[in-house]
Symmetry: C2
Subunit: 160 residues, 2 copies
Amino acid sequence: MPSKPLTPFQRESIDLFVGAFAVLSLPRSLGEIYGLLYSSEEPLAFDDFVTRLDLSKGSVSEGLRLLRSLGAVNLLPVEGSRKDHFIAETSLRKLAGGYLRDRIEPYLRGGESRIESLRKVSATDPELNDFQQKRINQLLSWHRFFARVLPVFKALAGKI
Amino acid sequence: MPSKPLTPFQRESIDLFVGAFAVLSLPRSLGEIYGLLYSSEEPLAFDDFVTRLDLSKGSVSEGLRLLRSLGAVNLLPVEGSRKDHFIAETSLRKLAGGYLRDRIEPYLRGGESRIESLRKVSATDPELNDFQQKRINQLLSWHRFFARVLPVFKALAGKI
DNA sequence: AGCAGAGTTCGATTATTTTTGAACAATTCG
DNA sequence: CGAATTGTTCAAAAATAATCGAACTCTGCT
């Protein structure tokens, strides 16, 4: 039984973030946790998520860990309590930055070497080299594009 | 039995796109189909995907349909054949644009009304209005941010 | 019309991801 | 120290998503 029922504002916020997280293919429980935190003025303790969202301790533990690693949730020491308390990160730069850092950039960083190995195998097939060269060059230019645009995006997000 | 085995260049390309599609949480079969097409100079027929990638007709049918709806694959009439033939779309603007249009923008378009209903429920809870107002305003500014940045991103992608 | 080839549909199967829950630390308090 | 509280871990269950494949439709050909 949830000790403290969710307010309408909280329910709506949770809905909103569940949807937003779904756009990024992130699980519902993450959206619920972040949504509740975002719509709560006070820091929340571990147990609040379990009781008010009716999630298992395991889900909350994993969920908070992932959100913390994304930089979407911050641990906040609360004096007089030995429970962990959490608040939502609300800087768009940090939110977007964390997502990009953990989900997008790792693949992008590996991109050059993947294209390099394409070039290697292409060398063993002299017949199609012209076409293959075109493809490889295009992949390189796509890679450069993303490598340039991501920092710009982050910088813009920092202005919000 | 695959009639024509994949070249090393094709295998590497498929790997690359399977990974890239995975970043966007798109299924492996889509990455395989697009990767094979991207690395093939000639247009490919439906059956080529089935035999060379060892996928079921069902998967290929669904996969090509989704890729076409994303604008990542184009149908190409080949004279003298009544089979459908396909070529890869390689304009970054169209590729990125299609993804954004189908996956991101629909949620963004619904954003204003979701924020509006947040405002509505907030009105019924006068106590926390200050905090809630701050959150709502922030959500609005995030929404404006994305609504502005996406077109810029598309425009930049058009320059590649 | 009847047949063959080409592709689609969709219920069933398989694979993957998410969530649970119970056992297990770790820490604090009496 | 021993009990209680807090949170983590991870194997198993549940939920979800992807893939398959057989039946079907559609089109063109003879």
